[in-house]
Symmetry: C3
Subunit: 131 residues, 3 copies
């Protein structure tokens, strides 16, 4: 019986320190976090890729926490980066706020909101209390 | 015990009238709706952003209904808009057919089908009969 | 009681031989497969759309197998194709390795990895042993 999200890293695939190739979610409730930009509580978009990336991930963390989940229960992050930004710079900015390996998709896609350089969505398991 | 999709809107995040920051799905079956363009039953692409947006959402609603779900059970919509269209115009067109708040990701991304201005996918909970 | 992923093809929608309009997942564990490019076990990106498409799908299959799932349990594929590639050519290349109909979203989006022409992610059900 699976009780926690579990990374899948098959032998035949290149192993990454940054992400898992797949993640299993246990049976039970999930939380789908809609696309988060680097906006603060007042709805203002922060300035620059580093600040936007950190804030977008903090917003994801806030939604996860409010749902009774957390970063260690995330099954997949989908990260949309404006085509003009450097993925390595965004990854470096994420390291301070996101210490967990999970499955990811990273795409060179502008968010629809003007000026937004990054948009992050997530799906996560919600563990049973006490599990 | 969660029995219905539940919006998550943490205090620290900007609150939107249009969408929830996250949605919880209860345990049980889900339906994944593949990307829907503004095509009619004969496979013809409708003309213009307003007509395509309404039709794409009607197609999502038809798939949800056939799966025993519905718009009030949707956990997330992912909305892909051609980079040349105005997101506010698409949102206005959606209001007539989609009255529910859910988690969303909106991206400036052309659908692969030539001429398609909008593509919408969804994931939703399927409630137990009688629940 | 649903025990297997089930395609949803409502009468009012155009029916495609290539994909289902929606897929139901039964209750139980899921596997989320992160975006797979056409890279081999050594992390090298293969050359050309055909080779990359086949390899990306083989990588998806490897993650599914390692999770106790498989292509017949997939609920949705999300296929990102570089805007300069021909979707029909990618579809033809996929036919050799992916014989199952499922729900799909296909977008004209460059993967973030330089040179990658295709990125495929998946979500699938994990069947109970013996079910």
């Amino acid at each position: 019986m699976i009780e926690h999200v579990t990374p899948i890293d098959p032998e035949g695939l290149h192993r990454s320190p940054a992400f898992a190739q797949g993640m299993i979610t246990p049976p039970g409730p999930l939380v789908f976090v809609g696309g988060q930009n680097g906006v603060d509580a007042a709805g203002r978009l922060l300035d620059g890729l580093g600040a936007q990336t950190e804030q977008a991930l903090r917003n994801v963390l806030a939604v996860l926490a409010a749902a009774g989940s957390g970063p260690e229960h995330v099954a997949k992050l989908t990260i949309h980066l404006d085509p003009d930004v450097d993925p390595d710079e965004a990854y470096a900015a994420s390291a301070a706020v996101w210490p967990y390996r999970t499955a990811v998709t990273v795409l060179a896609v502008p968010p629809a909101r003007p000026g937004a350089l990054v948009e992050v969505e997530a799906v996560a398991s919600i563990p049973s209390v006490g599990a």
